[in-house]
């Protein structure tokens, strides 16, 4: 081929070429399918040869039961090019209109420090890691999360904060259920405590989400004025107030807290971190719990998310805290080390005894918010807060001078304006809102005659000018009501006296150079997809393509307020419509809701839809949920949160549902059967042959079939929940559809439903698009969950097209079967389908080594770190085993490298078995080996340093050093420390 052939002038293309015909020269060059899928055609051929199969089709035929295969190809369109598609997306994005937002309601303009945007939000070293279960190779993120917890704890004045929750509204709902359980635990003889009080000046979306949760749990909600509320009946187990309130007032709830406590009620504050830099924090009033959103700490509004919500509380009920908590422990050498604390509280262990189904945090966003505090420090934050407050005061003063009624003088950033005051400008709020929109300004309408104006960090002088011009214009065209105009009072904020963020980490990195290096130091302690494959079974750590990530930080997607009017969000609406259509096609369902913010929320929303469906048919008593014992622990905990009773179904030795037991249980519960929750392919990585029959049995006993979409990536383009016979399914967009794991969030868990359930999808009181959905309330604060990351699956699906998506599924199955074939000569592979094939993941048994060599799954996991790899999923679904999922994105070379590492470890185990290595002092038991251990002057082990740190040749090219030695988990759980430790404990000094 000479160069001339490569330069094709498309303008001189022969017009006679028939449509659809193409020559290699003019085929698009920027195709994506081959970039997303790891193995190329040669690799695929070589891997098929190892399996003894002629083609990918044959492999799929041997793996996926014929009875459930799709009859028609996906209706998604053909694969597209990255450059070309991003061009189209820019056009779509331009249909989103960025107005000056003064809406507030928990969402504010913020300035993401560019150094944080580029080095965290846009950096695969920070967004492609997995949840930090393997703490030794996640110390950077864990430190960043500890910063976040310390920040939340300091600002709220409460000692224990978690590592973030999904959004403020769900955090409030979590707080409510936590109070409920605490009350239940301590007053089990007091059945009166069934009521939760919610102040009527909480954000409306918070009240709505709390109501949804309360209904499913059988909790009564009373909404009213918290100042005058009477708790003396003793019925109230908890109280929720907003501080500052949704209309901006800062109320002193000291007396209310005393009254609530005297009557056995726990007090929850929904609060604002920026305001808390200036005003007295909830903990100092005596509040028990604080929740809120850290969005305005540098995380774009994104039309509703993703953001990190927070929860902080007193130490009394630490073990009731939902979500993840980072804590300090020590490693094998006695150095301080971070890891997730008191894990056994979590849903995946407690199953139906869990008090929350929360799994995911919003790690990436919590890291950003924490870094925002590191970057600005306490003084910088106060300066920002003061500036916000000054801007608000200025507006109020100007409005007062224009004779607007602005009676509230105790506020932080939100000014309340009445258009109905004596001696003041009067008019209709609606008219003002419309006039504002004409001028590119969004205000919040509180009622027919009230509006609020919320200012923020990003509000600049020109914004203030437009705002004042708007109000001046409206005043000119309006009447002034008779009466005396009230004079303006001075702000009387109860100023915060206590110090906060005194830890050195918040006072050290304020120059960009220092900040950059701090973030890079932490990043270098984390193993991410930028280093090597992360073969976590069930977690699907596939490529998060750069083109998919680009649009996330486009301002047209980032700077929209979730309650902006529909005509400003047409770009998003188009994106949602495409995505809903595509996901409905992929799942074989009638409709999709994009609202649930995580897989667990999808499960909850899906089960609520099922409950509402039964209710609508006069069968509200149907509340039993069948769950196979092999199911992930989130399933039973979601069922409990949705108000159902769990009945376990037995599984056979293959992890598949035992049909005989299912029939028995279905028959036993035929009068109150609500649903079954099943995972497909099964959690054991097998395409069960009987899945259609399972659905039939449940349906014939009056139940609905909920499919856990965790393994959807093995179905796309080959089969679908709809074809299999399910009624609802959630999709983990962060698994199958390329949203990065972000080191433990964000995720998204949309649900697809069959036609009869469409009307029971989650609604939202503040969204016109959700007006027809009114039987089930919202499950997330924002109508579309976390919209700014929905661009990721949109780009992925559009780039891959129907054929590319199907190919991805096939190669995922190929990769898993290839690895299983290579590894089964060294380790037993536990579960296979009837033709001896695994699905897209497989379970490898290592339990035999405990007897033979005193080696456990954990030892192998830690030893893999020395080889530069993240461990597979450990001890799930079977205790003591490893579950491997390679995904389609890993090349044959990387799969081989990982297999080589495991095989080399097998030989290390053999050396122990054969007595050539010590049973307790060996490379596995002492793994991982951090640099400090290997280079120490003192070396006492019977094996060499070389073998410890460089057991494979490729490590000479690139070595990822674990930051610490093996972490002592019991120590940390027995000595709970969940905020930044004093500096002398840190290895740096």
């Amino acid at each position: 081929m000479d160069n001339g052939q490569l330069t094709v002038d498309v303008t001189k293309r022969e017009p006679a070429a028939p449509e659809g015909a193409s020559s290699p020269e003019i085929d698009p060059i920027d195709t994506f399918v081959r970039r997303h899928i790891g193995p190329d055609a040669d690799d695929v051929r070589a891997m098929l040869e190892v399996l003894g199969v002629d083609s990918l089709d044959d492999l799929v035929d041997q793996t996926v039961p014929k009875s459930i295969r799709l009859k028609k190809p996906l209706k998604i369109g053909e694969p597209r090019g990255e450059y070309e598609l991003l061009g189209e997306l820019r056009t779509i994005a331009s249909k989103n209109k960025i107005f000056r937002s003064f809406i507030g309601m928990g969402y504010y303009g913020t300035i993401t420090p560019p150094v944080i945007q580029r080095n965290i939000l846009e950096n695969p070293g920070w967004y492609t890691q997995y949840t930090p279960y393997q703490a030794e190779i996640a110390q950077g993120r864990l430190e960043a999360l500890l910063n976040f917890q310390t920040m939340v704890s300091d600002l709220t004045g409460l000692p224990l904060a978690n590592a973030s929750l999904l959004d403020e509204a769900t955090a409030a709902a979590e707080a409510m259920t936590m109070c409920w359980h605490i009350a239940g635990a301590e007053t089990s003889n007091d059945p009166r405590k069934v009521t939760f009080f919610v102040a009527d000046d909480c954000h409306p979306q918070t009240i709505a989400v709390v109501r949804t949760r309360a209904k499913s749990q059988g909790i009564e909600v009373v909404v009213g004025d918290a100042k005058t509320a009477d708790f003396s009946s003793g019925n109230f187990f908890g109280v929720l107030v907003q501080y500052p309130s949704t209309d901006g007032r800062i109320v002193d709830y000291g007396d209310m807290i005393e009254k609530a406590h005297a009557n056995g009620a726990i007090v929850v504050y929904a609060t604002d971190l920026l305001a808390l830099t200036l005003i007295k924090p909830p903990g100092e009033f005596g509040a028990d719990i604080a929740v809120g959103s850290a969005q305005r700490f540098g995380v774009p509004m994104g039309f509703g998310g993703p953001h990190a919500a927070f929860m902080a509380m007193t130490m009394d009920h630490a073990r009731k805290m939902p979500g993840r908590i980072v804590g300090v422990s020590k490693d094998a050498q006695g150095n301080p080390a971070y890891r997730l604390a008191i894990q056994t509280r979590e849903q995946h262990i407690k199953r139906e005894k869990a008090t929350s189904n929360i799994c995911t945090a919003q790690v990436l966003l919590a890291v950003m918010a924490g870094m925002y505090a590191v970057y600005h420090g306490p003084r910088g934050l106060v300066r920002i807060a003061n500036s916000v407050h000054e801007k608000a005061r200025l507006i109020r003063k100007e409005l007062a001078e224009m004779r607007y009624c602005v009676p509230e003088n105790n506020f932080f950033d939100t000014i309340y304006v009445s258009l109905n005051g004596e001696g003041s400008i009067t008019g209709k709020a609606r008219d003002l809102i419309i006039l504002a929109q004409k001028q590119g300004v969004n205000l919040r309408q509180l009622s027919e005659t009230e509006v609020t104006i919320s200012v923020d960090e990003a509000t600049d002088e020109s914004d203030l000018d437009s705002l004042l011009l708007l109000f001046a214009g409206f005043a000119n065209s309006s009447e002034i009501a008779p009466g005396t105009h009230a004079s303006l009072e001075e702000s009387s904020l109860v100023a915060r006296q206590s110090s906060f963020l005194t830890h050195p980490v918040f006072n050290r990195y304020h120059s960009e150079t220092e900040m950059l290096r701090y973030m890079r130091t932490l990043e270098s302690r984390d193993l991410s997809l930028t280093h090597s494959m992360i073969p976590l079974g069930s977690c699907t750590m596939k490529l998060n393509g750069t083109s998919e990530m680009f649009p996330v930080t486009w301002p047209e997607f980032g700077q929209l307020h979730p309650f902006a009017p529909g005509d400003q969000t047409r770009g998003y609406q188009r994106l949602f419509k495409d995505l809903e259509k595509w996901l409905a096609n992929i799942t074989g369902f009638a409709a999709v809701s994009l609202q649930p913010n995580a897989g667990s929320q999808g499960e909850y929303a899906g089960l609520l839809a099922i409950r509402a469906y039964h209710e609508s048919r006069g069968q509200a008593h149907r509340n039993v949920c069948l769950i196979p014992v092999s199911a992930h622990g989130t399933n039973p905990s979601s069922a409990v949160v949705a108000g159902m009773k769990v009945a376990p179904v037995m599984c056979d030795a293959n992890g598949s549902i035992e049909i005989s037991d299912l029939k028995l249980k279905a028959e036993e519960h035929k009068d109150d059967l609500a649903a079954i929750m099943l995972t497909y392919p099964s959690t054991h990585g097998v395409f069960e042959e009987d899945v259609k029959e399972i659905c039939k049995i449940v349906h014939s006993h009056g139940g609905q079939v909920y499919m856990d979409g965790a393994n959807m990536n093995a179905q796309v383009g080959l089969t679908s929940p709809g074809v299999i016979g399910a009624d609802v399914c959630h999709l983990n967009l962060h698994k199958t559809f390329c949203i990065p794991h972000g080191g433990g969030g964000p995720g998204m868990g949309p649900i697809g439903v069959a036609r009869h359930l469409v009307q029971f999808l989650p609604g939202h009181p503040l969204s016109a698009q959700h007006a027809e959905l009114n039987s089930v309330g919202p499950v997330s604060a924002a109508p579309y969950g976390s919209p700014s990351i929905l661009v990721i699956p949109w780009v992925y699906i559009a780039l891959m097209g129907g054929p590319g998506l199907k190919r991805a599924t096939e190669v995922a199955i190929l990769n898993a079967n290839y690895m299983a074939a290579r590894l089964e000569k060294h380790f037993p592979i536990l579960f296979k389908g009837k033709n001896g094939r695994v699905a897209h993941e497989f379970v490898m048994d290592v339990r035999q080594f405990e007897q033979s060599a005193n080696v456990k799954a954990e030892d192998i996991a830690k030893r893999l770190m020395d080889y530069g790899f993240h461990a597979p999923t450990m001890s799930w679904p079977v205790v003591g085993t490893l579950m491997i999922e390679p995904t389609e994105s890993e090349s044959k070379a990387e799969l081989d490298r990982f297999c080589d590492a495991l095989i080399a470890i097998r030989e290390e185990i053999r050396a122990i078995e054969e007595g050539k290595a010590d049973r307790s002092d060996n490379v596995l038991k002492n793994a991982p080996h951090p640099a400090g251990v290997v280079v120490a002057d003192h070396w006492t082990h019977p094996y060499g340093r070389e073998q410890a740190a460089y057991p494979a040749a490729w490590l000479r090219q690139h070595k990822f050093w674990p930051a610490v030695g093996r972490i002592d988990n019991p120590y940390g759980d027995r000595n709970l420390v969940c905020s930044c430790p004093p500096m002398q404990m840190e290895p740096r000094s």
Binding site: R319, T344, K350, N969, P970, R974
Partner: protein
């Protein structure tokens, strides 16, 4: 490795031992249970004066591996709780029958203890006999 549970104690199949002295029963968990749980990190106990009922939950226990409920085999009032466990929950692992005790209950009916499992029955019921 397990030391045999004391023969004079009475048991629940959920692994709690009961030692009756006069009208007071001391309750803890057996070494079998402690070993199954592995490293115990937290023991949640009732307050002094709390009422406990036979075969009902009185607290919870956490290890690095699992969380479990703790059950009482007797009905009565809690007169003492082992405050040491708050600082050192590992005592349940290292010395389950002595230093790792959990609560003392003044029982309404001391004869109730005799209804609980004997050591042999406990071992048989839990598959260790």
């Amino acid at each position: 490795m397990s030391s045999t549970p004391p023969a004079q104690y009475r048991y629940l199949a959920s692994h709690e031992w009961h030692d009756l002295q006069g009208a007071t029963v001391t309750i803890g968990i057996t070494q079998i249970a402690a070993e199954e749980l592995t490293d115990i990190t937290y023991v949640g106990l009732p307050k002094i004066g709390a009422a406990v009922r036979a075969n009902q939950r009185f607290g919870d226990i956490e290890s690095v591996k699992a969380t479990s409920d703790l059950y009482s085999g007797v009905t009565g009032t809690v007169t003492e709780v082992n405050a040491e466990l708050a600082k050192n929950p590992g005592l349940v692992n290292s010395d389950p029958y002595k230093a790792g005790w959990m609560i003392k209950v003044k029982v309404d009916n001391p004869a109730e203890v005799q209804n609980l499992l004997s050591l042999d029955d406990y071992l048989k019921k839990t598959g260790h006999g």
